[in-house]
Symmetry: C2
Subunit: 239 residues, 2 copies
DNA sequence: CCGAGTTAGAGTCACAGTGACTTTAACATG
DNA sequence: CATGTTAAAGTCACTGTGACTCTAACTCGG
């Protein structure tokens, strides 16, 4: 445990997910912001936002910081994904990257900045990235789709309150398949992961839909000893 | 990503699980080997086996090496657990620990060495450990019990072939509850995660039991892009 | 050599959850 | 005010599961 300063650098990167309408079809799909590398190796290539771990910050803090610095976004959900540390993953030097994945609200992603060096890509068709970041993106997408089916993280893409149709749209966008509205309603309501409010959403040319709110208490139970929280500001991880 | 040598040390530790009979009851329970620290901080305390990451080895390699050096064991299963990196988890210096968890066969654990500085503990009642290792053990146990229910890792505790009763005994030991033999058989056989051999195991004072073998092909599908393998020697992780 | 004891392994039954589908409610729009 | 649209509730057949029963095939004690 008592290591002297080794020739191994430690970096923290983050895969950021948001839902945005597809270019042509207009349907919601999964997008992520990438940053252009300005130095070697892989100068000019797109890569995940991140940077070296500062000695005075926790891992999740570092992820949130670099995430905010490059994209000006604040995540609704932030969880550690994996530590990538193969010897040859960075040409020339040895870098171990601890990667986080984050979910941001769609409305926030809509007003996100796009600059010369920050651009949004559809998660399923990112270009060839720097380092092993294509593998990382693939793994993060797999985790997102996996976790959506047994956990309740979909609300992190939405606002404080939402209709069940909106929640279903999130599921459909992530899982890339249509879901039966009636069955979806039955499952979500039965799981207790959301709680109905007394407000309805009118305006559509149809019957008004009830607004629901995420039920934190019912979901905190199955998170294990590390207790991943779904709020910004509060960091999670080891104690 | 291009970090200069920071004041952050990087270590790799491993939580090793094996099944051994309980001291009094004789029933199988989950055990783990711990090593006694011989230097500060926490000198004298028990801790997870591990050490600093060498620049020329992958993360999983480092886990397997320190595991073998201290306990002389070779794991049947080795998977990354989590990266612990809170600022104050190690007094005085900043250490980020990438923790793996491993499963070893029961018969191998039976002949494992016990020295002054290496001792086996029951996983549910380890003493107060060094650093945040109690939290790490708790999380690893949670992952083990969680993953046993949706994946097929139980065979890693057993030999090449095994009866369904032996496999059920592993599940009962890990989950700490009895399972109905008939229902367990139905589920395991239906899942296709094991395949029957043509051999029977005689010798018990009852009807002979068929020996089964782990079905690698049927289980490799749902492991995600990282493809966690269940064999020693072969390392997994990022490419 | 036989009966008792034990576990292997197959089978039964009631019940809960799910996918596919139908029906009614309540809005906006033309 | 008729029409289109989605909300929300309800129906039905099917599947997997927990609890349980029954038969098979061995070892061991007498």
């Amino acid at each position: 445990m008592t290591a002297h300063a080794a020739a191994v650098s430690l970096a923290v990167s983050t895969v950021i997910f948001a839902l945005r309408p597809h270019a042509e079809t207009g349907r919601m799909t999964v997008w992520m912001p990438l940053v252009r590398r300005i130095r070697e190796p892989f100068a000019g290539r797109w890569a995940l936002p991140g940077g070296p771990l500062e000695p005075d910050e926790d891992l999740a803090e570092s992820a949130a910081r670099t995430l905010a610095e490059t994209t000006l976004l604040t995540p609704q959900y932030l969880e550690q994904l994996y530590a990538f540390g193969n010897i040859d993953r960075s040409p020339g030097e040895r870098v171990v990257s601890i990667v986080y994945w984050a979910l941001v609200r769609s409305e926030e992603a809509d007003v996100a900045v796009e600059t010369e060096n920050v651009r949004w890509f559809e998660a399923d068709s990112v270009p060839e990235l720097a380092f092993d970041h294509n593998l990382i993106v693939e793994y993060a997408l797999w985790r997102l789709r996996n976790k959506l089916e047994y956990s309740s993280i979909a609300h992190a893409f939405l606002g404080e309150t939402f209709t069940l149709s909106e929640l279903r749209e999130v599921h459909e966008a992530v899982l890339q398949k249509p879901l039966d509205p009636a069955n979806f309603r039955r499952q979500i309501e039965g799981s207790g992961q959301v709680v109905p409010t007394e407000h309805l959403q009118t305006g559509g040319r149809h019957r008004p839909a009830r607004l629901y709110r995420y039920n934190r208490a019912a979901n905190d139970e199955n998170n294990g000893p590390l207790g991943v929280r779904a709020l910004p500001g509060r960091t999670q991880g080891a104690s």
